[in-house]
């Protein structure tokens, strides 16, 4: 049993904090006691500390399986920022030379981040087997259930991966999982529910006001968005389900609201992503128009609003995304704008990626014909065929998946049409037993949000400098002695 003084000291020394956030300490203690652990902690609760801190108190390596490249990059940047040099990110972005060099020094790294696809590569698995893995972490574990079948089948191999590398302890973490998903995660990781410590905190974030608005059409939606952006206290994030739309609306807001707007999506180069993130972190940007690629690893405490311009695909995604607001505990707001057409749009988006029955049958009959095709749907089928699945199984699998996706979307719809308390709806959905006391700071069930009373209204915003600095000024600020204003 580790003593509190030691924990406190490590927290202070490596992370500069004096206090744990909700849930952190119990997860850390469980992990340090060598107990396989499954934790649900609300968004913004500092989940990464739960594996970073134990890293300094155990002798082996910490291996983190993470779903997104941008998330891995953010987490690596965070550790580097804290002064940790023994960090390795094994991603597809690595050039061959770097990859070779990193693998040659594999044992020297304390923290190793990688995607499930990377972890399933034979060479990497061999290294992981030889290594002494003290802690295997599955970050954003709901992805196992959410993405496993259609998007990232490598997630389905995690239990055999776990068996192969025999970590001393396994930690799975997420901020959103229904009871069905919780059971699914444990099963897919091969964790025995009776022997796994389950630390489950309420997913509720009481300081985020929940609102939605139905609008007649796209024009009205744009108009309303502009109004909101003018009235709301900033900074804020607006989520879109298409890259193109994020760019288009960013340009519109730039003209009509503020120049401190930028867009962010997966097509940007890593330098451009870095630039936008840094500007946002430093308060130089007031509003970000983003796809869901933005924010998983963003640790900005004072985001005051999250607006959804498109419907999220599920209540889980919704909760993840609004969770980027109000990490400082201050009052914040989530507003979902939607039109009737959005349901069809989202349904198409969700279903289009899935291979249909005709394609599945054709592929299994003549896989050779598709050898050159680099379509995600084919890659997916290729994976299942390599796993020796029969065509009947695969047909059933995707049919089921289609139902699940539509069901998730119908839950979203039910959430929006629900006349009662939105927070209660979410908690019921996640079988969260926390008691909700609905009032005018909770959600828009009884009346629309009063921004002024919530302290979220700001009609005048400080004028931003739209003019860029000259090279002389920038250079003097960077390497000379004259700071930029």
């Amino acid at each position: 049993m580790i003593d509190s003084a030691k924990l406190q000291q490590t927290l202070k020394q490596h992370f500069g904090y004096t206090k744990f956030k909700t849930g952190q300490e119990s997860v850390i203690r469980s992990v340090l006691a060598g107990q396989d652990t499954f934790a649900i902690l609300p968004t913004g609760s500092g989940k990464s500390l739960c594996y970073q801190l134990p890293g300094y108190l155990v002798s082996g390596q910490v291996v983190v399986i993470s779903p997104l490249l941008s998330l891995i990059q953010d987490q690596v940047a965070q550790l580097q920022y804290l002064g940790e040099k023994r960090v390795l990110a094994l991603t597809s972005a690595l050039d061959p030379l770097t990859r070779r060099q990193s693998l040659a020094h594999f044992a020297d790294y304390k923290f190793i981040f990688l995607s499930p696809e990377m972890a399933n590569q034979r060479r990497i698995q061999r290294l992981l087997k030889q290594a002494s893995v003290a802690l295997l972490v599955i970050d954003e574990a709901h992805c196992i259930s959410q993405w496993g079948i259609d998007f990232r089948p490598d997630y389905l191999l995690l239990s055999s991966l776990r068996e192969a590398i025999q970590p001393a302890t396994t930690l799975a973490m997420t901020a959103t999982a229904t009871q069905r998903v919780q059971a699914d995660i444990l099963a897919k990781l091969g964790l025995d529910p009776t022997k796994t410590r389950q630390i489950i905190h309420s997913v509720d974030r009481r300081n985020i006001y929940l609102a939605s608005e139905a609008l007649a059409d796209e024009t009205e939606k744009k108009q309303r968005l502009i109004e909101l952006c003018c009235q709301l206290k900033r900074p804020g994030i607006i989520y879109f389900s298409s890259r193109q739309k994020a760019e288009e609306i960013a340009a519109l807001l730039q003209q009509q609201v503020t120049t401190q707007v930028a867009f962010y999506h997966g097509d940007l180069t890593s330098q451009d992503r870095f630039a936008i993130q840094q500007q946002f972190m430093q308060g130089k940007l007031a509003i970000i128009c983003a796809t869901s690629a933005f924010g998983m690893g963003i640790d900005k405490a004072d985001v005051r609003f999250v607006i959804h311009y498109h419907l999220p695909g599920s209540l889980e995604s919704y909760l993840q995304e609004i969770g980027r607001a109000g990490r400082d505990g201050q009052q914040s707001i989530a507003i979902l704008l939607y039109t009737q057409q959005d349901f069809q749009l989202q349904a198409n988006l969700q279903i289009n990626g899935l291979p249909d029955a005709t394609l599945i049958k054709r592929y299994f009959a003549h896989p050779g014909q598709f050898a050159a095709a680099q379509v995600p749907a084919i890659e997916l089928l290729k994976f299942y065929r390599q796993q020796q699945q029969s065509v009947t199984t695969v047909l059933k699998l995707f049919d089921q998946r289609r139902h699940e996706k539509l069901l998730a979307l119908r839950t979203m719809l039910a959430f929006l049409q629900n006349p009662g308390c939105k927070r209660q709806f979410i908690l019921t959905y996640f079988a969260d037993s926390k008691v909700v006391s609905h009032d005018e700071t909770c959600c828009d069930a009884s009346q629309p949000p009063n921004l002024a009373r919530l302290g979220l209204q700001q009609m005048t915003h400080p004028q931003s400098h739209t003019v860029y600095a000259t090279w002389q000024k920038r250079l003097a600020a960077i390497l000379g002695n004259t700071p930029l204003l």
Binding site: Y81, A89, Q101, A262, Q271, A275, Q278, W471, R474, G480
Partner: protein, 344 residues
């Protein structure tokens, strides 16, 4: 003027050119046939100008120009129409065109600038004694190279010397260009702009922005290599990347050749097929100013080829004309390269 007019610059009214080869050249696909096309069209310097150019964008632009009657296509080749030539002259005046870009001379310019930006950020934070910052997102190998380089520098003079060298560089540019490029610099409490932001401020398309950035870096490298004594830091940062125009493998082959090894010996030593080595030689023949053609083309081979092609224009030569001889494709190509170079 829309971005697709840029494509006109790559074509000519007289010479038929292969769009596929042009695209490959811009993207930096280093094959003998692409490089030869670059030589033949006088566009070798554009090598690797746009490595991330989406193929469909290139093809779409070509289609638009054909539909507008500015480009005529014939099989796999294309050239400017009379109207196309006029539009090219106009485009030359209105569009920003790279003036200093030398894709083969400075083939590692992108790595250079990534290192330089990280060095600048690290120096800026060092000056403020700040150890907690988010380093610019670059490849791990770039980080390592920068760490090693920084370790070799004199911490006392690094910041002021770097400041001075940047100052010298920026001062050689027009104000607008230096202003634009400086938006990407970063340091203590100074965030970089994204390319979308900077292009927006200067009212440029993303393509123009990319060309300005590439041209600026190559202009910097010209300044640095022309006066190394004025730029000691940048010179030492560039030196390990100054590899010359050849690809790594071709450069190794050439070094061994210069040491007097035969192709058979090199093939055995490097475990590389002779045909690949011959490709290396052809690459060198195209790219090096002093390739020893006579060493690889015997007098009798040369005589034979001269007789067959006599006064025939280069563009109409066909390898099939050598069907009755025992001359190889290597002989043919090498001779063709030599003739093409002599013609300039």
């Amino acid at each position: 003027m829309a971005d697709y007019f840029y494509l006109l610059i790559l074509f000519d009214q007289q010479q038929w050119r292969r769009p596929l080869a042009l695209k490959a050249l811009l993207k930096g696909r280093r094959t003998v046939s692409n490089l030869y096309a670059g030589l033949d069209y006088g566009l070798l310097s554009l090598y690797q100008l746009l490595p991330h150019l989406p193929a469909e964008k290139f093809e779409q632009a070509l289609r638009q120009l054909v539909e507008a009657g500015l480009i005529a296509q014939q099989g796999r080749q294309a050239r400017l129409t009379v109207a196309g030539q006029k539009a090219k002259v106009a485009a030359n005046k209105q569009l920003f065109l790279p003036q200093h870009y030398a894709g083969l001379k400075f083939q590692n310019s992108r790595e250079f600038i990534a290192r330089l930006f990280l060095v600048t950020q690290a120096s800026s934070e060092l000056k403020k004694h700040n150890r907690h910052y988010f380093p610019l997102a670059v490849a791990w190998s770039t980080q390592q190279a920068v760490k090693n380089w920084l370790r070799q520098q004199n911490a006392q003079t690094l910041v002021s010397q770097l400041h001075q060298e940047w100052y010298l560089l920026f001062a050689t540019l027009p104000q607008w260009q230096a202003d634009y490029y400086s938006q990407f610099l970063l340091g203590h409490q100074v965030q970089p702009a994204s390319t979308q932001q900077a292009d927006h401020w200067f009212a440029w398309s993303s393509l123009t922005g990319e060309l300005v950035r590439q041209d600026t870096v190559h202009w910097f490298l010209q300044q640095v290599t022309a006066a190394p004594e004025q730029f000691p830091l940048l010179t030492s940062l560039w030196q390990p990347l100054a590899t010359g125009p050849l690809g790594t493998s071709a450069a190794q082959t050439m070094t061994l050749c210069q040491q007097g090894l035969s192709l058979t010996e090199i093939s055995r030593q490097r475990r590389i097929k002779q045909n690949t080595l011959k490709e290396h030689l052809l690459e060198a023949a195209i790219l090096l100013p002093d390739f020893p053609f006579d060493h690889y083309l015997t007098a009798s081979t040369r005589r034979q080829l001269t007789t067959i092609f006599a006064d025939q224009p280069l563009a109409t030569w066909k390898f099939s004309q050598l069907a009755a001889t025992d001359l190889s494709f290597f002989d043919y190509r090498l001779f063709q390269i030599q003739k093409r170079k002599a013609h300039d």
